[in-house]
Symmetry: C2
Subunit: 166 residues, 2 copies
Amino acid sequence: MKIREASEADIEQIWPIFHEIAAAGETYAYRRDTTKSEALSIWLASPQKTFVFEEDGRVLGTYYIKSNQQGPGDHVCNCGYMVASAARGRGLATAMCQHSQEVAIQLGYKAMQFNFVASTNGGAVLLWHKLGFATVGRLPGAFCHHSKGYVDALVMYKWLEAETEL
Amino acid sequence: MKIREASEADIEQIWPIFHEIAAAGETYAYRRDTTKSEALSIWLASPQKTFVFEEDGRVLGTYYIKSNQQGPGDHVCNCGYMVASAARGRGLATAMCQHSQEVAIQLGYKAMQFNFVASTNGGAVLLWHKLGFATVGRLPGAFCHHSKGYVDALVMYKWLEAETEL
């Protein structure tokens, strides 16, 4: 598998992954009817960097990294990860999260924060815990799940300074 | 005291307040060298609505309201409040926060969230608690205070549905 920084042209392969996940309304705080051009802005244009994980030229997963806050909060980054449904169960989320932590340290970040993990997304919560993230906040009813209604969202956080550098 | 929606022209009176608070680097996640045009974008152009509290044509305080997340999170709003240093101790923050909760309900929001309250900002933490906000998260070392270094930031949250409407 090859990991590389994404270019705008990668939106063609990122879009089907993004669209499927956003339209489900179960895990990300994006409108279910988010358009391709909005996705381009959210995933590729606004973040500091975006990466794709590809196999034989086919994008299987992607993540972005950006500052979570400005000024006094700009030493903490935020990442978002998406895996193509056909590629789930192969450890891509783990590989991307580990890669993102190394990139975060290279970029000078000291911590990583996930602002809005749906508490119903048990697989993600378990995985982030396994990768060293602590649940540092719980937002009551903050996530309106497409089928389950108002569920809690979690804030997850990891201080990175002690991590080994690339 | 008059409360009204702000227009872009109000940046002239908002800017000195914003600049003093941002430059202090003690309470808001804005760069200390944030420019006037960036402040215009942050405080007036990007939010859903911005209000000013004025006395004899002089702006003493201002707040914005916007969605804290999109899609499955767009029923929770976020607000930011600033009071001119000369007008502190007169209950303006309380009045603005109460006004913002009423506006939030009118706009259809169900909850209000503050993402990044510096734990060293004891007055604000106490005030938000008094006004019904719970501390639902603590982000270790997420706020780099200008003089105190890395301090925790708090996530504060209030469900609004039971509030009396305007």
